[in-house]
């Protein structure tokens, strides 16, 4: 993902995530390194996706590199329900943050 995730772009983001989940993806890595803005609508999409994936015994791993996104995830304490990694390789290598 790149750019901004807000009310305008969240539907497309949600659609892409749901397509991957529907295709059978169990452990989903979402690289948000190129995203320079996310708001509560975007965070809600991540929550919804995590719920779906976990109901299928899978998990969602977020990749963020030194961004304000990571601060926002921490501020909302969603880092306690969403696993955050600092690189795609870390997210794919290890099941724990």
């Amino acid at each position: 993902m790149t750019g901004e995730i807000d009310m305008a772009t969240a539907p497309r983001f949600r659609q892409r995530l749901l397509a991957a989940i529907s295709a059978g993806a169990q452990d989903v890595v979402i690289d948000l390194s190129g995203v320079d803005f996310i708001d509560s609508t975007g965070l809600g999409v991540l929550m919804g996706a995590a719920k779906r994936v976990r109901s299928a015994e899978g998990d969602i791993r977020l990749v963020m590199v030194g961004s304000r996104l990571a601060d926002l995830i921490e501020l909302t304490r969603l880092d306690r329900v969403l696993d955050v990694f600092d690189s795609v390789s870390a997210a794919t290598e290890d099941s724990e943050p």
């Binding site: 807000d6 609508t41 719920k51």
Partner: protein, 148 residues
């Protein structure tokens, strides 16, 4: 800092205008070079959340009217006033979300907007009634305790 100014504008109640509003936040904040990039980014999120709520309020009320936004720049603060003509709500009656450790927290995709407005702005005032809602968000340019 530039001279005090007040700028009124309207946007169609459509999500594609959110990015424009955020740009205006950055432009207004850039008039004070002492504001850190982090604080500007925080305030941008807060204003975007209020504008998103306003757009949703008009959609729920099936109103085709514009959202009114006032940007007020003074010596010591920048304010954004976002006014909609939706059905209004009672801020004190917003549902309390489960704690992050609670697995049921993932059942709530919404409900973070007002929280983010409160923690990412220096001052927040919400006035809501059956004819609409006005949200005033402010960021201080220097130590100042006055409210919206």
């Amino acid at each position: 800092m530039a001279d005090p100014a007040s700028i009124d504008f309207e946007i169609p109640a459509r999500p594609e205008y959110l990015s424009l509003v955020r740009s205006l936040v950055v432009e207004a904040a850039d008039m004070d070079t002492n504001l850190s990039r982090e604080r500007v980014e925080d305030f941008k999120v807060a204003v975007s959340e209020a504008t998103t709520n306003a757009i949703e309020a008009h959609a729920r009320a099936c109103r085709d009217e514009s959202i009114r936004i006032r940007c007020k720049i003074t010596e010591d603060r920048i304010e954004f006033h976002i006014t909609d003509r939706g059905f209004g709500f009672y801020p004190d009656q917003i549902q309390v979300l489960p704690e992050p450790d609670d697995p049921s927290r993932l059942n709530f995709e919404r409900g973070l907007g007002i929280y983010l407005m409160r923690v990412l702005s220096d001052d927040v005032e919400i006035n809501s009634g059956p004819d609409g809602t006005q949200v005033c968000l402010a960021i201080h340019l220097s130590a100042n305790d006055s409210d919206c």
